[in-house]
Assembly symmetry: C2
Homo-oligomer: 203 residues x 2
């Protein structure tokens, strides 16, 4: 019962590309098949249904997105350095995959908690012992004493939003892609300085 993985890989590649670009409702099974250069029926033969394929794709995207973050958390660095590297990595990742945050936020908002639990990323974070490190850094006075949700929100807001709002900002300010990329490189420095200053106040 050896399966032809190449066909499934083709479908996954095309589906990931199309789903991220247009969302679940914005594309059809036939469009995915066309992009993969395959017959429509193959999508359901290999993946049962469009929504099942979608679940696999989004789980995959989230996994890939989470892995690079976890690497930083698991490393043996101070929280301040972890934050610096995290921002750096986020901007790197998002430069390559600018549509991913929008995709995750929009499509995950439609799912219920049970789906999210299946992804099982929470345990990975617990394993990284990042919560203990935060608690300790706050006791030391190294890290500002605000809750973890807000810390995450502050970092994510300043990393993700500039990529999410890219089409809008580009339209408003008439910036071509290369100019906006320069803007983002500059912005990353501002964001890093601002967040580090705020989260890790020196005395």
């Amino acid at each position: 019962m050896e399966r032809d993985l190449t066909t499934e890989a083709k479908i996954m590649e095309a589906a990931t590309r199309v789903f991220i670009a247009k969302g679940f409702n914005g594309c059809s099974s036939r469009e995915i098949a066309r992009e993969a250069g395959l017959n429509v029926a193959l999508v359901n033969y290999h993946f049962k249904s469009k929504s099942n394929l979608f679940d696999i794709v989004i789980a995959n995207v989230i996994k890939g997105f989470t892995l690079s973050i976890l690497d930083v958390f698991k490393s043996n660095l101070s929280l301040e350095n972890k934050t610096r590297i995290l921002i750096e990595k986020e901007y790197d990742f998002l430069t390559k995959h600018p549509d991913v945050p929008n995709f995750i936020i929009n499509e995950l908002g439609k799912k219920d908690k049970s789906f999210f639990d299946c992804l099982d990323v929470a345990n990975e974070f617990i394993e990284a012992k990042i919560f203990e490190q935060v608690e300790n850094a706050q006791k030391n006075g190294e890290l500002r004493n605000i809750d973890l949700v807000s810390i995450m929100l502050l970092i994510m807001s300043n990393c993700h939003f500039p990529f999410m709002a890219k089409p809008m900002i580009q339209t408003i300010h008439s910036l071509e892609d290369s100019k906006y990329q320069e803007q983002l490189t500059l912005h990353k420095q501002y964001v890093t300085e601002m967040l580090i200053n705020y989260l890790f106040p020196k005395k």
Copy 2:
């Protein structure tokens, strides 16, 4: 040739609600008509087509969103106080309309520049002379010397993202609506402090 505005108003109300919640591709003309308690054909009779209705709705939403910002810009306050009030107003607006940023960013990204030019909001900002005020504040040393795009990005990121990511954060941290609202109230204070400290460094 007096038109029954009530019917058009009903369609606009339902369309705005449904479009914001589900996006252009996420809903059907029939769903909008059903929500308005009207016959499907009335949508096209009064608004020509679904996409025409959508253009009117999104232009309307953007206008409403922009107006409250412009009020702040036009007021006679220092940039620091304008920033404080702007953040306050953004959080107020977004508490009432949490789905609007996602809606605007997603759907405006699909439109081209010509559509955006039709909205004609740029002139309003020029009229408010906010650009001159920024330039002067930077010469004074009151405002940090970074470009306007980044200033806007910093403020918008920290105001909009917490609302855009709400479903995701709620799922991750198992927070009910009221708890997340408390979180946002807290977060607004952090954001204000962080942004003011960074944008308006005291000496």
